[in-house]
């Protein structure tokens, strides 16, 4: 019991340290660094939600960009003022309910998540009967459909022009707040017996059925919860970058999240967090390979998109040499750390 208390205290302490760090960052780091911190938080939300679907429940889903788009559009429509929307919709006027809808940021983000979850539920019901690769292809198709719809319903989404000047409410506190909330919910789920049943479905579906688990229902549940957080991530991202259009939600967006999840380890929340941090920073840092490089007198011309090549290579190397990702299925836990400290203490 005391050990549990210590762990809870440590969790609070870690959250406090994170808050202190953010408070410090807000005042002392430049806008660029803060933007990277924000992206890290959003990427953690996206990666952990995809990990719940793919890593923990074993459903190969490539539909994340679709759910993000739904969350992003829903949230943006709700936080922009009617006046703003009137200015934006120059192709065709928005439907009155789109025009007049407005809600505070918190409500708008939740609405984005709930809408994505609802769509996840509707799409999942037929699709989750498919296995493995087929599910991957079908969900990929779903994401494309969302994007094409966004392009072609100008009275809701403003078509290919998308939205500009979305209010940038998503500051460091919102992003990390949602990030911690996501981590908490998914951690609780995974570490309960509910999480064990998801793991059971992933490892052996027939055996899970024989153990009395309604496999379809649990898959759908996991998929819907994952979609919810993908929608939340999309909503935050929209407010963070303040411009969205259908092109933003191409397959490459799903690929980025997938890359984080695979790199971190399928079935490890810790892995997803670490990989989100590492890959978000590296993606920014690697921009130098796209700039012209001077070697003495010789100038190497920068090639746009070069960092994605570097990343794809890195992903190939990871899959070749460390298929289970950075963390495999292991998790960081205070228990292990405390055990280490104890051992050290005894050794002395």
């Amino acid at each position: 019991m005391t050990e549990n208390r210590i762990k809870i205290a440590l969790n609070f302490a870690a959250t406090g340290i994170l808050a202190l760090f953010l408070w410090w960052a807000q005042d002392f780091l430049g806008g660029y660094s803060i933007q990277i911190l924000n992206l890290i938080a959003v990427n953690i939300i996206l990666a952990v939600s995809l990990n719940l679907i793919y890593g923990f429940t074993g459903m190969f889903s490539l539909g994340h960009a679709g759910f993000m788009a739904i969350g992003a559009y829903a949230c943006s429509i709700l936080i922009m003022t009617p006046g703003q929307k009137e200015m934006l919709f120059i192709l065709q006027p928005a439907y009155p309910w789109v025009q007049n809808a407005q809600a505070p940021f918190l409500v708008a983000v939740i609405a984005g998540g709930v809408l994505a979850a609802l769509v996840g539920l509707l799409v999942g019901a037929p699709l989750l009967r498919l296995g493995d690769d087929y599910l991957g292809i079908a969900t990929l198709g779903f994401a494309e459909i969302v994007r094409v719809l966004a392009n072609n319903i100008p009275r809701i989404t403003n078509g290919a022009l998308g939205f500009k000047g979305i209010p940038d409410y998503a500051n460091i506190w919102w992003n990390f707040g949602w990030c911690l909330f996501t981590l908490y919910v998914i951690y609780r789920l995974i570490n309960s017996n509910f999480g064990n049943t998801l793991m059971a479905i992933r490892d052996d579906e027939p055996a899970a059925k024989a153990m009395g688990i309604n496999v379809f229902r649990y898959k759908l549940l996991s998929f819907t919860i994952g979609s919810f957080f993908a929608g939340i991530g999309g909503a935050l991202l929209a407010s963070l970058v303040s411009t969205i259009d259908p092109k933003m939600f191409l397959f490459t967006l799903t690929f980025n999240v997938l890359m984080i999840v695979v790199t971190g380890g399928l079935g490890s929340i810790t892995g997803s967090v670490l990989a989100s941090i590492a890959i978000t920073i590296l993606l920014e840092w690697l921009r130098f390979v796209e700039n012209p490089i001077f070697l003495g007198d010789y100038e190497l011309k920068g090639i746009p998109g070069m960092r994605m090549v570097v990343f794809s290579l890195a992903l190939i190397i990871i899959i070749l040499f460390r298929r289970e990702g950075l963390m495999g299925m292991r998790e960081f836990g205070w228990g292990r750390l405390l055990g280490l400290v104890h051992k050290r203490g005894e050794a002395k």
């Binding site: 609780r188 017996n193 049943t197 793991m199 490892d203 052996d204 055996a207 153990m211 009395g212």
Partner: protein, 263 residues
């Protein structure tokens, strides 16, 4: 004293396309008994298990469990109704720990939902704790308590079989289907297994139907048995009568040996 029937199949027939895997299979299993289903490879034994546990719907016939028609019910509902099974080729949740495997079995009897766990409601925390305790107790019963935190796929073969049984017991069944529990075990392990099967029958008030190739096990623990060959029931009765049945000997060893046995 006539014991009441717990599981009954009437004229069960299962066809896969043109192949009749099981034909006109009728059994009635008295409560509290240990009975066996034997037969050469490909006789349709596992198919019968798959029908009873809900994995296949029969082409014809019914499965009645405790007076309730469970024909065509999905596997998870069959399990909820009180029938648990093991698999011929062990199917553990390989990435989970030994304890987690058993906890998954407990899930079907859990009352609190997933969202209650997220909210950390006291009732759900209590239940989670009770589930872990119950699982540890079950591991104790099968003698795996010391391996609770090992990854299940790293266990030796015999231990994996016992873990599968513990997991099935965790669903609180009244009726247990064991598919070749002694497969791959050495004679010592087999002996232990026979005692173990009798023990869990007493302890959990089970009725057990087992498929087994090891005649020592079948003859040792079963009170009654059915013999399948090419989907047909060729014999039924006590171990002694089955041993002497020329049809059974023929199915297993061929016609000549049956003639020798007669002579």
């Amino acid at each position: 004293m006539k014991r009441e029937t717990v599981l009954e199949t009437t004229k069960l027939t299962i066809r896969f396309g043109g192949l009749t895997a099981v034909d006109d299979f009728s059994i009635a299993i008295p409560a509290g008994s240990i009975v066996g289903l034997i037969g050469p490879n490909g006789a349709g034994k596992t198919t019968v298990f798959n029908v009873i546990s809900g994995f296949y719907a029969p082409s014809e016939g019914r499965v009645i469990y405790n007076g309730r028609d469970i024909t065509g019910m999905p596997p998870h509902e069959v399990c909820r109704a009180g029938i648990a099974r093991t698999f011929q080729n062990i199917r553990l949740f390989g990435n989970g720990t030994v304890l987690q495997n058993v906890m998954v079995g407990c899930h079907v009897r859990q009352k609190t939902g997933w969202w209650q766990t997220v909210l950390c409601l006291p009732s759900s925390l209590r239940e989670e704790k009770a589930v872990a305790e119950k699982s540890r107790d079950l591991l104790d019963v099968v003698g795996l308590a010391h391996l609770a935190d090992e990854q299940s796929r790293s266990l030796p073969y015999g231990a994996q079989r016992r873990l599968e049984i513990a997991r099935a017991l965790a669903t609180e069944p009244r009726f247990l289907l064991l598919d070749e529990p002694a497969a791959g075990m050495n004679p010592q392990e087999t002996n232990d297994l026979m005692d173990f099967i009798r023990n869990i029958r007493e302890r959990f008030e089970l009725t057990i139907l087992l498929i087994e190739h090891d005649m020592k096990v079948v003859m040792g623990v079963c009170e009654n048995m059915w013999v399948l060959d090419y989907g047909e029931t060729i014999a039924e009765g006590s171990p002694e009568s089955i041993k002497a049945n020329p049809k059974v000997i023929e199915a297993y060893l061929g016609e000549e040996c049956a003639a020798d046995a007669d002579a």
